[in-house]
């Protein structure tokens, strides 16, 4: 990307001057009607001529070597086509943005549930039956550590040490030293992981449920030993990812290998149980938070240590303390991580890796410290907002925490919050809680092409839409820049033959791919200016008319020759001098049954500063989705592991609880603050989805304390834990 635009300085707010009414408008997603009427074709829904079906075989030992497969019983089934395994098989999915194959273990098994082979048959049912009939011989290596508490561990060397935490803890007027635990989480995307592989000569076309096409293409090529040019990846519709489809996984590789061998298209759709077994989970965490403050609430020390787990050799480590590193000021700081190397399904990115679980400790700790100090928890946070990034000294870009806390408190009726355990309605104890929201904002290298003809504009990039609204917002950016109504803009996404974008991950997709579209459209405006005969900075494109320097022309008249422009963006100096994060505040009101310990969230409000809002409706949906996940991680979500094998127990959505509708209050409100992030990118926007989850669960937990007087330190706050708390207090 040599002619790439580099984000070296704040950019003018062009989108505040274009005035076409598209940017920010709550437009429907253009593919929405297709999705709800079954016309959007997902990976598993293609039926090419001659397609056969693959089902993965999972390992049923925790550690060891596969010494052989006996396929006699399977091969006896009519329609059985074969068993595929071998050195190209993956141990686990690629981590996000790996761009190369993950570990290819050969015949080694590293966790119970690891996909070790693929069975292919004429029908899905036969393949599933055949997979169950494969007899696998192992040389088992017993005693594999599966408990993160006792497994061997290592400490990466990126710890933060500033000042003297221990000394500050000794001197603090008020201190807190608490241990918290969070369980593993599954991404729980609605669409199960799926792949459809087809070879034409030595060229592979792969439909996959994938979030990051550019990286996925490279990973796939590397894994099966072909050149990237021989691979085309397509993922026009994806039924949710939440991090679980960042990198290629067993279904893609095995489908590609089997399709090559059989010379037929092969489809592999994971059963829900396989998704739990074989797709990266969020690690469980054990955290220790230490805080010290003066009597006025000024923090003097923040220490956040955590233990996470992953399989040997996996580079990903949940950045549990990510928000702790910049949310509050304090001269004495310690951030330290331990990675336990165990043999559970390996961990990776799931919904706001880091903040989603780390902010439980930080924000519940702040709540408890506020109580110790006798300071309102909103006020305590306001008193500790740093001037600059406390670790790096970078200048913050638009920083909305104070405003979000103040406006949120006002809107929520925070002044009506009572002392813990004092508000009741029948058996229900009522309380309110608050937490800050923070999620680092990023700009990831992205390219896009925009073509403008007399018929309208076409936006092309390999950016994905995982249900988030990429189709909508990328069209809105192009329409806004080029003076076109939205129905004159079409958007083609998620084809690796198109210019490569960030993909969907880390909440950076809209801003990164959106900036590339913006820049491509800006180049088109420059060309229009040239064709009109005015300076590029003077050109206005307004509802089909191009004006500038007292000249005027119909857009169509300037488009005798279509204009196609490609643009790329990458982050630059501003990412070094400045630190960009979404900020916000969560408020929750809960009712807790004094008898059963069941918790019902009655109201929830999120106030967020996310830079420019590109589409009010899709932005709100992202925030709402995040907040719901927050409720889920506070109250419901929990991966359970067998203590002997480490495998995930209860591998379906009946047992793995995400919130049901009845768990989410009708009174769920989202407010966006008017904000522009000039240093983030040229469209002044920031990530949203993951900001919605970051801190949301802590607001719920803090509300439980306000309702009951009890503190929960081990999440989720299921009825048994709350009842335990009641009983300890003789209630």
């Amino acid at each position: 990307m040599s002619d790439s635009f580099t984000m070296n300085e704040a950019q003018p707010r062009l989108l505040d001057t274009t005035d076409q009414g598209l940017i920010g408008a709550p437009l429907d997603r253009p593919e929405g009607a297709l999705k709800v009427s079954g016309q959007a074709t997902y990976t598993a829904e293609y039926h090419p001529e001659g397609m056969c079906h693959g089902v993965l075989v999972r390992a049923t030992i925790t550690r060891g070597t596969v010494t052989g497969f006996d396929e006699t019983a399977a091969a006896a089934l009519p329609g059985y086509l074969g068993l595929f395994h071998g050195p190209e098989f993956l141990r686990n999915p690629a981590q996000g943005m790996a761009g190369k194959a993950p570990t290819q273990p050969g015949d080694r098994v590293a966790y119970h549930g690891q996909p070790i082979a693929l069975v292919v048959a004429e029908s899905f049912e036969t393949a599933r039956d055949a997979a169950a009939r494969i007899v696998v011989h192992y040389d088992e290596q017993p005693g594999a550590p599966v408990d993160p508490e006792t497994a061997p561990s290592e400490e990466p060397d990126d710890r933060t040490v500033q000042g003297d935490l221990d000394a500050a803890m000794r001197k603090g007027a008020a201190t807190l030293d608490r241990a918290y635990t969070t369980p593993g989480h599954a991404a729980a995307a609605m669409e199960p992981h799926a792949a459809l592989a087809e070879w034409e000569g030595d060229h592979l076309t792969l439909h996959g449920a994938l979030q990051m096409i550019r990286y996925n293409k490279a990973e796939l090529a590397d894994a099966i030993g072909v050149k990237p040019e021989q691979v085309r990846v397509l993922a026009p519709y994806i039924g949710g990812g939440f991090g679980s489809k960042l990198g290629i996984s067993a279904e893609h590789i095995s489908a590609a290998l089997a399709a090559r061998a059989l010379k037929r298209p092969v489809r592999v759709v994971m059963a829900r149980q396989t998704v739990f077994d074989a797709i990266l989970r969020r690690t469980e965490t054990a955290q220790r938070l230490r805080l010290a403050a003066e009597t006025d609430g000024k923090l003097t020390a923040i220490g956040h240590e955590d233990r996470i787990s992953n399989l040997e050799g996996e580079g990903f480590a949940e950045p549990t303390a990510a928000a702790t590193q910049f949310l509050y000021a304090a001269p004495n700081r310690l951030v330290r991580k331990t990675i336990s190397r165990n043999h559970r399904t390996p961990s990776g990115s799931v919904r706001a890796p880091g903040e989603a679980v780390g902010m439980f400790a930080l924000e519940c700790g702040m709540d408890e410290l506020a109580e110790t100090l006798g300071i309102c928890p909103v006020e305590l946070r306001l008193r500790n907002i740093p001037e600059k990034h406390p670790e790096t000294g970078q200048t913050f870009t638009a920083h909305a925490l104070a405003q979000a806390l103040r406006e949120g408190a006002q809107a929520f009726g925070w002044d009506k919050r009572t002392e813990p355990g004092t508000r009741r309605e029948g058996e229900w104890l009522i309380g309110m809680g608050v937490a800050s929201a923070a999620r680092t904002n990023m700009l990831i290298a992205s390219s896009a092409r925009v073509t403008l003809t007399r018929d309208g504009a076409l936006v092309e990039t390999d950016m994905t839409d995982i249900g988030t609204g990429s189709y909508a917002i990328l069209g809105q950016i192009a329409g806004e820049m080029l003076g076109l109504p939205i129905d004159k803009v079409s958007v083609h996404l998620a084809d690796s033959d198109l210019p490569g974008a960030s993909g969907s991950g880390g909440s950076f997709g809209a801003s990164s791919a959106g900036s590339a579209v913006f820049l491509a459209a800006r180049k088109i405006r420059d060309e229009l200016a040239k064709r009109l005969g005015c300076a590029p900075e003077d050109v206005r494109v307004d509802r089909g008319q191009v004006t500038g320097d007292n000249k005027k022309a119909a857009l169509a008249d300037l488009l005798v020759e279509p204009i196609a422009m490609e643009a790329s963006i990458e982050s630059g100096e501003t990412a070094k001098t400045h630190f960009s994060s979404g900020f916000g505040a969560h408020f929750a009101e809960v009712a807790v049954s004094e008898i059963t310990g069941e918790v019902r969230v009655r109201r929830i409000l999120g106030v967020f500063g996310v830079g420019r809002v590109l589409n009010e409706k899709t932005a709100r949906s992202q925030a709402v989705g995040g907040m719901i996940w927050g409720v889920g991680s506070a109250l419901h979500e929990e991966l359970s592991h067998d203590p002997r094998t480490g495998h995930i127990v209860g591998r379906d959505l009946a047992n793995y609880h995400v919130p049901s509708h009845a768990d989410i209050p009708a009174k769920m409100e989202v407010r966006f603050l008017e904000e522009r992030d000039d240093h983030a990118n040229p469209i002044q926007s920031k990530g949203i989805g993951e900001l919605g989850i970051s801190g949301a669960g802590a607001a719920v937990i803090n509300a439980i304390h306000n309702a009951t007087g009890l503190r929960v330190y081990d999440f989720p706050a299921t009825p048994d834990k709350i009842v335990q708390g009641f009983m300890e207090h003789g209630r």
Binding site: R58, T60, H112, E125, R128, D129, A132, A271, Q273, G426, E427, W428, I430, E589, A591, S593, I595, T596, G597, E598, R600, R602, R603, L635, H636, S640, H641, D642, P643, R644, V649, G650, R651, D652, A654, N655, H657, P659, S660, H661, A662, D663, P665, A666, K667, T718, P719, D720, V723, Q724, M727
Partner: protein, 340 residues
């Protein structure tokens, strides 16, 4: 999924004649099909009784009601007679599964739904219920959802039904048709076996037996009825613990109390001793607490499901308080109003 033959029965005789050691009836299919996909159940023949005439009606049966085995859970919960005279049943039904599943699920199928023990569901794990003699992986495993009463060393699986718990409290009986066409009527405790050393044998049904109806006795006039289900989320979750109660007061004393419990045992659980302790007594916290202690006296739990004791104790007392008028009636935790 294994290949299987599908037979749509055109009469009960036909259905019974198709029965065999490797055959299964299918009603709503909401449980059977899930288990077949996972190959936890592998019938070679599936006999569809869902379209048989006469199985999907609710009829007067003397002073009580006869509920056909194919009456859908949703229809049963909505029936005005059930809502008025047997509200505990309507509430238990509505506390179970989801609207979609209740539209499909049948009365007979609900009674005979299999356990949700995760080890029963995982064919890579030992399970005496699924594969007799293979062992019990749940022993020493993840035990949160397992039973604490009526278990054996070979099986700790809990029965998951809500409906059956309410039926047990209502002292309903089950009508079973034998292949020769004769009908026999069983109490619910006669229908369900405890696991002992044969957890694979869950009921007293013989090959070819078909549940044709559930029989409700006369309404317990003047009774207070309630169902309280404690679960890990507000809807669409199996009970950690549930309590169904039908209580009739005589002046200031408890005339009759019939309690049943879900989530605790391999079958909807009733303890005659508990009911007997309550009958004729003046309601009090001390009495309720003693009765709850009695209920749980034989409970066997581990660190993972110890909490069920406490939940059961608290829920039972709360239900009795309301049913006897010591506390105002509530909807339990099923419905929580929006804040004012």
């Amino acid at each position: 999924m294994r290949e299987f033959d599908y037979v749509r029965a055109d009469s009960l005789d036909h259905a019974a004649a198709q029965a065999g050691p490797h055959a299964a009836l299918i009603a709503g299919g909401t449980n059977l099909l899930d288990l077949m996909k996972l190959q936890v159940m592998v019938p070679e023949r599936v006999i569809d009784i869902s379209r048989l005439d006469g199985l999907d009606t609710i009829e007067a049966d003397g002073p009580g009601l006869r509920i056909g085995a194919m009456v859908r859970n949703a229809d049963l919960a909505a029936d005005p007679r059930i809502r008025a005279d047997y509200p505990v049943l309507a509430r238990a039904l509505l506390a179970g599964a989801s609207g979609q599943i209740r539209n499909k699920a049948s009365t007979g199928g609900n009674l005979l739904q299999r356990t949700r023990c995760p080890y029963f569901y995982d064919t890579a794990m030992a399970c005496n219920k699924r594969a007799p003699g293979s062992g019990c992986a749940a022993e020493g495993g993840a035990s949160r959802m397992l039973a604490i009463l009526g278990t054996s060393k070979d099986c700790r699986a809990a029965h998951p039904s809500d409906m059956a718990v309410a039926l047990r409290a209502l002292e309903a009986r089950v009508a079973i048709r034998a292949p020769n066409g004769t009908e026999r009527i069983l109490e619910m405790d006669q229908l369900y076996r405890l696991p002992g050393d044969r957890p694979d044998l869950e009921t007293e049904l013989d090959e070819g037996d078909i549940i044709t109806a559930v029989l409700l006795p006369a309404p317990a006039l003047g009774s207070s009825q309630s169902y309280r289900k404690i679960r890990d989320r507000a809807s669409y979750a199996f009970a950690l613990v549930s309590v169904a109660a039908v209580v009739t007061m005589q002046d200031d004393r408890i005339g009759k109390a019939s309690l049943a419990f879900g989530g605790l045992a391999p079958r909807p659980w009733k303890d005659a001793q508990v009911d007997a302790m309550l009958a004729g007594q003046a309601p009090s916290e001390a009495l309720f607490s003693k009765a709850a202690d009695t209920l749980l006296a034989e409970a066997v739990s581990d660190a993972g499901n110890e909490f069920k004791r406490h939940l059961a104790h608290r829920a039972m007392i709360a239900v009795l308080r309301e049913a006897t008028g010591l506390a105002p009636a509530s909807t339990g935790t099923d419905l929580v109003g929006e804040p004012a």
